[in-house]
Subunit: 800 residues, 2 copies
């Protein structure tokens, strides 16, 4: 529930009640502080004497508008829960109080911290990281505290949802069950003063995932589960061939396959499973190959089928599912926006003037929708929408609402620094500087390598280049203005690299243990080199753009890691140590003794005992190694030899789970880049200009003196005495100062994936719109007032 | 140049000359044996007394038609060379003779065999495979022989192309240079009676690639080269990060990075290069990790950037290029077909009846275009095109030409076995049988595993199931007819598995060393299980469909392997052996001695000395192991320690080359499957029915008795006495026999990728057509005769 949505709803209420002929005197127009839902629920019924049914309709309509118009709410709408969102809406004042209490950033923050605290506890619980070990009563008490907070959150939710809805909400029910279980266990631990086998700790991430700020992680998890059915199908195909080859390898070819890798069916399957990951490749073949050279055919055929065909198939299946989900998501978002705009338009036009929205009405909407927007910006936004210059906004104009709503306006500048900074000559000069710098660093490194010592001396070249970069940054900030400058990822990157280098130089100058710091940052300067080529700019820009999504995928992976780490710690803590596993085939990798080879004695150090599950940090590193796959079977065999052979199940399951997640990451990167390349090809424009010129969406609006004066008058009439009028007076002042009768303003915002998708699916969008209006046709025939009360068309059903 | 195109050209010539008012008495209509180009070149000029310019035009038009109408030729046309194809056409009788000599299957076969012989020679040249070693004078003589044959082929080409064109044809020039070089070297070898360092043998595949039948390989190579520029860009990015991290790892963090992997910049870069392939992963980290646990951050960050980001980027770039090329190829093919049809239509309609093609004309075309087609099929093809039932074929009807041309016609059957075989009950019964059989085999294998011995006894279950499958095959062949039955990949698979199993049973019954044979084939029966699920049917069917392309990609890979194997053999033959490489870090893997561990003595056998370049077969296995990547650095380091460190360049280059080829294979599989899945989703029809019901394209044509009689009369008039009329009389006989006055015929052909693409790009195709007709608009206004002489629009320019 957005704060800035509230006043808007109040405005709509007022308008609605006016049109219904109900006395709306009590409704505040310009004060955005009252809670409209409360108004409807209490005041409307008791004071305005309207029928409860009308109020119910009104509440429905308001909930719709409230949910629809703010863009953030829209984003929530497109999720699966949108259906229960309506039905989970508070229906009585008591519920409303709980709802409002549970929907603000403080509460969200508490949720998040509780989730993080519970997860972080595993650092201190036995087996703990040595330096962070806490006594049992300390960490158990902390855990109980956190669990009580979760219980409190759940109680609030219960109040707000009502018991009936609560038990029908699956995620919440799972959370409740896990909570109860953890409660019991925490109390048991506190009583016994020692930890028992607590595999259920692996379920802790559920508290984190459920919190408000982890929406992206939930989305990822959903996407992973959506990709599962086809993935499992292909996985079965993989396992099927594995079994066929295992049977072939084990039973039927005894004359050359009598080696350790294929002596039983189980070993045979395990060897072939590891072979799919290539981790044991030439080794598994070597004994057979040394006896019979043709035995390599078996392995070549197996790898060709499994590794080069079916594994790619897995990627294809996930890629395909992923693509489909993305497109559907975009479609859903788009149609919701359209439906929201349709409704807002219908609500805004009055019966007297059914053809459009006047500046006055629009300004009223904006004052509610974006209370902090200045009067100048509201006016400019109207101008940007009103491309035809007509006295009213038509519905078609209004469809661009979401495109212009986020624009930041400023006067178009054309002074000389601006021109200099935007000139080709300046850009190419900087490219040359960067290239020279790059070569210089390489040469210097080479010299360094060949004995030249520089220890604490700052090379003069470093200062020279840093000065040039500093001047560039200053020029650009002056020329483009800070807003335009910092809206480009490239400029941000330039700025931070330069600032860090400068800080490094200062620390060096004042001799504060600076060596390592500056040295780590120096090669980063080389990244500037990538501005030189268009493709690299695309790649790195996509990287900037992908970052939020990648971070959420990384978080998802970490959640899987966490669960597996807990299970691993519970079962495999302290099972491997130097010189363990002597009975296994991988004993060498765990050995740490003096070995006599010929007549020399050397320390034969196999480091694999370090890949253990002794605490959560070690577990994470071990799991990362398992993710990278190479030599993962050494860890598996080591642990297996010290426990039972059922341990292999853990490692194989982990391999499959990470394979799914990694495949989705690959599919995601693939999708993003193919999309971007297609886009640049289709539109034949460079997707971004590193100098921030055409980077983002730019709208233009020209304001003449007369217009500005008229608007100022209008505003003064509507809502006199508001300080926001100052900005509009500022426009007039600026005109006076420059002596011109009109000013050109540029509205700028960064390009989002949605903008790209709009261009990409251009044709399909027209189809979707056509389909959408066809579905909603019967309603458009009704009268306006009827439509106002209509519950808007439900979210278009997903194609499953 | 297709043989069956020739008579068609003759027909077109005749018609053309007739319309030009030139005496065409000499032109043979029904005898397809004369060579039309010869006619034009000699007879037309000397006997028909037409102006040379007209003949030139005619020749151009003919070359066009000749090239365009046969589908096989179309496929050639879409290649890049299509431009020089026209300009390499023979221009005089002498050239023509050479041209005709060099364009037939005998000559192609000779080309192929020469190429293969040259490549196979490396089995016998030192270092040879021991059992195939030949004396120097034998293999050098064989080589000279093969080279002389290549020289002969080139001479023919020179005669036919003319000197000027010959030296402008790049591929031919390269071939000539390589040939000269090889000649000189072969003679030197023969004189010295010993092989010198002959790295140039790595160029031998060029003789194979250049031959006619290896068109697919050439196409693959071209595609690989097209993907190279973006690939190299991203590769540079990869190397760039590698160097940055190498500098970080080597110079700047000496306090924990003082281990063998990072002691010099070269080692540092090599370690990080190997790390990208993950082949040395936990090992390279372990020494540092055992000193400082936080050192893992360096490796995690490096792998996250390089392995999980940039490597995926490589895949994305290749995938994208590949996709673009495929689409452009399809577009080009489609527009060429359309242009060919446009031209054929213009050539067929006469000035008297400009609105369409009559049955008589169509039959004449078909008699030239497909001389072996029966009169019945020609008639049925006409009926299939003429959906409107109008007396003439319009241009729109004619556009379907390529869709109906490959149909195989038969009478629609509806007898009881057919109904049985097509019934759902029958299908599901067979699925149940297959499932039971699958479970049975698993149970049996398990029993076998737990000690039950069956050696030579055939289990009764095997016979029972085989009988059921045999009956199924017989029923289906009877029910569907052999043609429909064998047109489905699934049926073919069923059939071959059953036949092989049956053969196995016979060998077993007659006790002819049957054990191994039957045993290898038994698990294959399990593949039938995959019919049960739709997705598997899709997957395996795609596999059938992909097979030709995969084979050509495999051949391309083998050609790369060959070149690398030759280079490897020249430089690294016999450099690794047991207990070599003691100075390297991988000495263990090459060790083969008794080692004392504690107080036990064991044979420590590192098998890696088997991964050598001692002969071409060993080299291929070694290269396959390098392709799989795991532990490849052991081979690299072993060879490097015995030669110079420049050897690493060979291994790294090989890694990069196979990465490109493998990435293209991945991209190809990905593309094919995503395409297929999109297709099934878009059209919501199962892509194939394993029972061959809707598998493929089916056209229907109903023939009434009157029609058949009228057509027979027409045919008798046009070309009397041809034996092909029998088939049409057969239709009448069949009607008499069945007693009905009409028969329904079904035309069937298997679905090709082109059919799928047609559906897939439906919307884009309309755009392309629109664009195409816009470009060709000016020409359509001219008179028909003028158009006949027009050179058709050039191949639409590729978007680069």
């Amino acid at each position: 529930m957005q704060d800035n949505a509230r006043p808007h709803v109040a405005g709509v209420c007022q308008q609605f009640l006016q049109e219904k002929g109900i006395d709306a005197m009590d409704w505040p127009a310009c004060s955005p502080d009252l809670n409209p839902i409360e108004h409807i629920m209490s005041r409307s019924i008791h004071q305005c004497h309207v029928a409860p049914q009308t109020v119910q309709e009104l509440a429905d309509a308001l909930v719709q508008v409230w949910e629809e118009i703010p863009q953030e709410t829209i984003r929530h709408l497109i999720r699966r829960e949108n259906n229960d969102k309506f039905f989970t809406h508070p229906r009585n004042p008591k519920a409303l109080a709980a709802y409002l209490f549970a929907h603000n950033h403080l509460f969200y923050m508490m949720e998040l911290l509780t989730g993080v605290l519970l997860m972080v506890l595993s650092l201190c619980e036995a087996p703990a990281v040595p330096s962070l070990r806490l006594d049992v009563y300390v960490h158990a008490t902390l855990e109980l505290l956190a669990l009580v907070m979760v219980a409190f959150e759940l109680c609030m939710k219960l109040r707000w949802l009502g018991f009936h809805t609560f038990i029908r909400h699956k995620r919440t029910m799972v959370k409740t069950c896990v909570l109860l279980l953890q409660f019991v266990e925490a109390i048991v631990v506190l009583i016994r003063q020692t930890s028992h086998l607590r595999v259920t700790r692996a379920l802790r991430p559920i508290f984190l995932v459920d919190c408000r700020y982890c929406g992206a992680v939930r989305r990822n998890l959903r996407q992973i589960f959506q990709s599962l059915p086809p993935f499992i199908d292909i996985l079965l195909l993989l396992l099927f061939f594995m079994v066929i080859f295992a049977i072939l390898g084990e039973t039927h070819t005894p004359f050359w396959m009598f080696f350790k890798y294929f002596n039983t069916l189980e070993n045979s399957i395990v060897s072939l499973f590891v072979l799919v990951t290539t981790a044991n490749f030439p080794d598994v073949m070597m004994p057979a190959y040394s006896r019979n050279r043709w035995s390599c055919v078996f392995f070549i055929v197996y790898l060709s089928i499994e590794l080069y065909f079916i594994m790619n198939l897995l990627l294809a299946v996930v890629f395909d599912t992923f693509n489909g989900v993305e497109k559907m998501k975009f479609k859903s978002l788009l149609l919701h926006k359209r439906s929201a705009i349709d409704h807002a338009f219908q609500l805004l036009v009055s019966r007297q003037r059914p053809m459009g929205v006047s500046l006055k009405q629009f300004d009223g909407l904006m004052r509610f929708y974006r209370p902090r927007m200045s009067s100048r910006d509201r006016f400019l936004t109207y101008k940007a929408l009103n491309t035809a210059g007509a006295p009213m906004l038509s519905l078609d104009d209004f469809y661009k609402f979401y495109e212009v709503i986020g624009l930041k306006w400023k006067v178009s500048l054309t002074h000389c620094i601006n021109l200099l900074v935007k000139s080709k000559a300046f850009q190419y000069t900087m490219y040359v500087v960067v290239a020279v710098n790059g070569v210089w660093i390489l040469v210097e490194t080479y010299m360094l390598n060949s004995g030249f010592s520089w220890s604490r001396m700052v090379p003069w070249s470093y200062i020279v280049f840093l000065t040039i970069y500093g001047v560039e940054v200053l020029l650009k900030i002056t020329g483009l203005g800070p807003l335009a400058y910092f809206s480009s990822g490239w400029n941000l990157f330039d700025f931070s690299v330069t600032v860090f280098a400068f800080l490094g130089l200062i620390t060096l100058a004042f001799d504060m243990e600076p060596f390592y710091f500056i040295v780590v940052l120096r090669p980063l300067q080389l990244l500037r080199l990538f501005k030189i080529k268009q493709r690299y700019r695309n790649v790195l820009d996509t990287m900037f753009e992908l970052f939020p999504r990648m971070a959420s995928l990384g978080l998802t992976l970490i959640i899987f890691y966490y669960s597996f780490a807990i299970v691993g710690m519970e079962f495999f803590a302290d099972v491997v140590y130097p010189n363990c596993c002597n009975t296994s085939t991988v004993a060498d990798s765990y050995r740490q003794i003096n070995v006599t080879i010929g007549n020399r004695t050397v320390l034969d150090e196999g480091y694999y005992y370090l890949n253990n599950f002794n605490n959560i940090l070690s577990s994470f590193v071990t799991l990362f190694e398992l993710t990278v796959v190479n030599n993962w079977y050494i860890t598996m065999e080591g642990v297996t030899s010290m426990t039972t052979h059922w341990s292999r199940l853990y490692f194989m399951t982990f391999y499959i789970v990470t394979m799914v997640v990694m495949t989705i990451i690959v599919a995601f990167i693939l999708d993003a880049f193919v999309f971007r390349m297609n886009y640049s090809r289709k539109n034949k424009e460079p997707l971004l200009d590193p100098e921030g010129k055409s980077n983002g969406i730019v709208f233009e609006a020209e304001v003449s003196r007369d217009e500005a004066l008229a608007t100022l008058e209008l505003y003064k009439k509507t809502c006199p005495g508001l300080s926001s009028l100052n900005s509009l007076q500022g426009v007039l002042l600026a005109m006076d100062r420059s002596g011109s009768s009109s000013l050109v303003y540029l509205g700028r915002r960064s390009r989002t994936k949605s903008d790209l998708s709009m261009k990409m699916y251009e044709e399909e969008i027209q189809e979707w719109y056509a389909e959408y209006s066809r579905e909603n046709l019967p309603q458009s025939d009704r009268s306006l007032v009827e439509r106002e009360l209509d519950i808007p068309p439900p979210c278009p059903e997903r194609e499953s």
